[in-house]
Symmetry: C2
Subunit: 410 residues, 2 copies
């Protein structure tokens, strides 16, 4: 981040992906989801071709829409006109036919909007290994492309959901000396209408004017401590992706001076959406913030925080409101990061439970009380003298998670 | 392993750690476990000082008995007279007092048997962060050291249990051209009388004559595909350890010719104990064998197998008898190992479910029928042309796991 002293303010506003100027959206019930009338297909469109950036799943098994979107973004050197997304079918492990279907989705949107096929990005979420009902999808695209509006972004937030318990959208306005711009977004998290695998989709828009390379940098930097700092069960999907489009419809051009303001705004939106994904995690009853401090590097801090966050023993203890510092220490100890356990400390809800290699059992009741709430905070200092930190958000592990994911698909 | 053509046979026999000549054991109810009369302290003794080898937890947070046993084995250059082990209290995160308690356990056994303090190895399992009731432990050691016998190894197998649903002991006799020798062992797995963290303890004995360095090599090699190839929840404990003592009381000296026979015998015992640990995993209802083939290296194969084995989505699908090949492919895809998904195959119970990047949904009913059993087999070929393989054993993830680990300790 720049060390610029530019002042700016970030203020939450109503709305989502169409809060920034230059974007519209529409969502329809195309019949991909089994539930009749359920919104399952959305288009998020810019008024003209704009700059675009993306992050894609690191899983080797990548769904057709991921492969096609990567190609398109590369072919256009970071520009796009629209995103088309469906829920209910992931179009993953669908072979050449799946690639053809993803391209068809882009082509149909391009035809409707009058842009190039590779100016359309594609995302899907839902059951994998099942072919898209492409005729229904095509009809849905036709319908949605005629219904684009700035007024119904919440429909898009609903259409991308699978087993998400609630829709997630958020927007902020950023005021700088150079003028104001807006950032909006929506996301869906971990859950399937028919249990398969957790998929995270995120769609961000801004009316700031940002060159493609800078936009990609801003997306990467803002995702690090938000979308990439959350975990429900340590799984990554075949379909995970986050898209960011910048219309330039405001007066603000992002340069060295205004970049910190863009990043701050993106962080605010991405953090809200990411935390929303965790709150809506499968079977989740608690939001857990894990803060690791005094590590030798940011990577070390992240690795320890993620190991704690994904530990089944830690997650079940939190679910049971058990102030089990031992599981936290043991998870940190097996993370692969070197530190001196005797210099480490563990706080739960601000209550010191472990220091100098020894427990503070007298504090357990206060920590237990904190754990009975729904917002849990765990602080681990590695005492390495390095001073680096990382925060990861996760949820507890409940019997409901097992039920959701253990039920047969039929 | 040697390419020697030496012939040998491995035959299962009754018994455990005292099946090999030169060993005795005793177990007592010392009062560490809350349940009155529960066996909770055992001594496994050799008739004289013998060669010894050990594997210890890789967790940075290491319990006092682990630290003390490491020191002792180093000081004696790989020899020992006895092992003392207790369940019900892990003596972990107990500071200097914990170290003093572990040393006291060794000293008391040494005093009773007439050996050096550092010729006694110490292991503990149970609640962490709680001081050992050292007076009870000392009285138990005194009692046990007077009760050593070759006839009651099953008592030791019971004494080391925490929430293990059944005791685990096994023994084999190995017949070679150079004579016969015996290997025995006992182990405890993942579960606590009061939920804390899973701890694996393993104790192996043999009456073969093996030099310390060769004994350590044999333990490392036999653990790789047994104790180190099992996982319940991916956790490693502060207290995990496996000890192996060789009395030399048989006529067989282990050299290049007989090493393969020793290794085969150790593998047979360690595999039976390791699989028993998985069968007795917390909340487990199924034993899952994950076999990864055609990897570029053994490490790649192990990494893929362990990622699949620890995937909450895979484990819950197996629990629900869902032939969800997609979760298996996705877990392999996020393992960090490079392979071509289009060349990979997935079989469940011998039924081909995924190949050429596409599902075989018509086979799902046959795979589902297999998954309704209690012995599950998953085969994943990475199709890399490398030909390397690995097998990992795990169990399913049930709501009972959450219940066991989510209940507050009091």
């Amino acid at each position: 981040m720049s060390t610029s002293t530019t002042h700016f303010t970030v203020t939450a506003i109503a709305g989502g992906v169409t809060a920034p100027a230059g974007f519209s959206s529409a969502a329809v019930a195309s019949g991909i989801k089994k539930k009749a009338g359920a919104l399952d297909l959305a288009i998020i469109a810019a008024d003209r071709v704009v700059t675009a950036a993306a992050l894609f799943t690191t899983n080797l098994a990548q769904a057709a829409p991921v492969l096609v979107s990567k190609q398109h973004l590369h072919a256009t050197a970071g520009t796009a006109r629209a995103i088309v997304v469906n829920a209910g079918c992931a179009n993953a492990c669908t072979g050449d036919a799946g690639i053809a279907h993803a391209r068809r989705m882009a082509a149909d949107v391009a035809g409707a909007l009058g842009c190039r096929v590779d100016e359309v990005l594609v995302a899907s979420t839902g059951v994998i290994g099942v072919a898209l009902p492409i005729d229904k999808v095509a009809a849905g695209i036709s319908q949605a492309s005629r219904a684009l509006t700035r007024d119904r972004s919440s429909d898009a937030a609903l259409a991308i959901m699978t087993t998400d318990p609630f829709p997630k959208e958020y927007a902020v306005t950023v005021d700088t000396a150079a003028g104001s711009f807006t950032i909006g977004g929506t996301a869906k998290g971990s859950g399937m209408i028919e249990p398969n695998m957790a998929t995270m989709l995120g769609f961000l828009t801004t009316d700031a004017h940002v060159a493609p390379a800078l936009l990609q940098r801003a997306l990467v930097e803002s995702a690090r401590d938000t979308f990439n700092a959350i975990t429900v069960d340590g799984e990554t999907s075949t379909n995970d992706c986050v898209f960011l489009m910048a219309s330039g419809a405001s007066t603000v051009v992002i340069d060295d001076d205004t970049y910190p303001a863009l990043l701050a705004g993106l962080l605010a939106v991405a953090r809200e959406l990411a935390v929303g994904i965790v709150r809506g995690g499968e079977g989740a009853t608690k939001l857990v913030t894990i803060n690791v401090t005094d590590a030798r590097s940011v990577e070390d801090a992240q690795r320890v925080a993620k190991t704690i966050a994904n530990s089944p023993l830690v997650k079940t203890a939190i679910h049971g409101a058990d102030p089990n510092w031992g599981r936290i220490v043991a998870a940190a100890g097996r993370s692969g990061v070197r530190f001196d356990v005797n210099r480490a400390t563990v706080h739960v809800g601000g209550v010191l439970l472990f220091e100098h290699g020894l427990p503070h059992d007298e504090a357990a009741p206060a920590a237990e009380k904190h754990l009975q709430g729904q917002e849990i905070r765990i602080d681990v200092s590695l005492g390495s003298g390095g001073g680096h930190t990382a925060t990861v958000w996760t949820c507890d592990l409940s019997a409901e998670y097992v039920r959701i994911n253990g039920e047969y698909r039929t």
